[in-house]
Symmetry: C2
Subunit: 285 residues, 2 copies
């Protein structure tokens, strides 16, 4: 490493990068512009994007609908983070952290705002009594792995993904640091899935739905073009689990919502009824 | 930035750093040596270290004991991560992720292992019915901010803290990236605490206990010697809240457990009864 760098006493924002993703990072929070959020007809209003954090929630919503729970009907609006829509006043009112996904439940006694992908998973799982055991060891294990996902994925996304795929210039030390950690995380998951059908044990749960969009997509080669670099196929129990979940129709539906990229049959920028997905997903078959 | 670096097709572990903290990172998981975990007399057995993630749990346990809940009595054993004790077979049985803190509840119907600091907070809050509302908007807001903490702190600890304080050599790009994000996070918290007495609203909750050890310690100048660099005093609502919580006796007790560094009155390497804390804390008064 040849960078000799001594930080100033006080950090100063001297960013003037042309990097699209660097420019959506800011040292302050709050709204940059006034714009109301759109509101549809269903009780659940989702503001999201089809990135892994967004996919978690739409997979759960589609799983709930697949069980016949009509109260889980939802409108899903696309938040274009490259255009700064997460900094609109309407979005910030729902999530002061300006990150997708965010949910409003109009049917709650107090209209309630829910943010952080895993908080939305817990909220919906408890509201509908599905995919999170109400008590006992199964509940504890689901929370263990759900929090594992939320504390681990920043090293995959904000760490490895940023430095390997998005940063203006590749730097050895951060790539090494985060590649090592991601491989360790994959090995943790692999050992768990060698002994268990699903992440938290014998039952499909919100822990799987939190982990598949990051680590499932990673081992299936859908993330950062890093399959060879990380030798993802060596984590064969993770691959087994990732492929098993990818067979679920609800996951296939949920993962393409609020996507505005990829193949034509992978794009459902907005979702207001099942038909919005039906007509797109047929194109891929 | 002068580093020209092209990653290999396949990542190879070529780490041979002398950096103490770099050497506890590994690309694989699992036990490195056989060693049983110690077990004390109380129902709750905690294996931890007095870092921010450890403090979360001991603060909650001391708050529960301060309410007179005797069933929250616990034995706290120190896991020396610099010595690799998180890779002992006994610890890995409790937490396959080899991170502190980890908890075993001997009193549960099935002896249950709980890992991830926030999963332990939820487990104890639900077990004893404290610091997490059972329903409604207060519960949702607590989960919102609890998950916010778990998804945000990796950028403070594994990101900013590593590159600013622990990495072998300081590098401008990663320090800038993570300093900007930590300042944004502090601003999010500051706006929330401008409107609310506690993080999740009007009531003290496990969200405060998750956030204080990281962001409270940071604004009080106890973390990474970064108070001036990040201008922490400008986040005055966070400072108000951090000082308010620091007045709580339970927090003062919880934050020094499993500490083996600092002043003599800040060190309670193991805790098996209130007396272990009482005698140490008196030294500081």
């Amino acid at each position: 490493m040849s960078n000799e760098y001594i930080p100033a006493n006080v950090w100063v924002d001297d960013s003037n990068s042309d990097n699209k993703w660097a420019n959506i990072n800011r040292p302050v929070s709050g709204a940059t512009h006034q714009k109301k959020r759109p509101v549809g007809q269903h009780p659940l209003q989702l503001y999201s994007l089809g990135t892994p954090n967004g996919q978690k929630v739409t997979i759960l919503l589609e799983e709930l609908l697949a069980l016949g729970i009509q109260e889980a009907e939802y409108d899903a609006y696309l938040i274009n983070i490259g255009e700064g829509e997460q900094f609109s006043s309407g979005f910030v009112e729902v999530n002061p952290n300006s990150k997708i996904p965010a949910l409003v439940d109009k049917s709650a006694d107090d209209e309630v705002n829910v943010f952080e992908s895993a908080s939305i998973l817990v909220y919906l799982a408890e509201k509908f009594g599905q995919f999170l055991a109400k008590e006992g060891a199964a509940r504890t294990q689901t929370f263990n792995w759900l929090f594992w996902a939320q504390g681990s994925a920043p090293f995959l996304g904000g760490g490895f993904g940023h430095f390997y795929a998005y940063a203006d210039e590749k730097q050895q030390y951060p790539i090494n640091r985060f590649a090592m950690e991601v491989k360790r995380q994959l090995d943790v998951l692999d050992k768990q899935l060698a002994k268990n059908r699903y992440v938290a044990g014998g039952e499909y749960s919100i822990a799987d739905m939190a982990i598949w969009p990051w680590y499932g997509n990673l081992v299936l080669g859908n993330l950062y073009d890093a399959a060879e670099f990380l030798q993802v196929e060596t984590y064969r129990h993770v691959v087994r689990w990732a492929k098993m979940l990818a067979q679920r129709e609800a996951l296939q539906r949920g993962r393409i919502i609020n996507c505005s990229w990829g193949e034509e049959w992978e794009q459902v920028p907005e979702r207001h009824s099942a038909a919005d997905i039906d007509q797109v997903i047929k194109l891929g078959r």
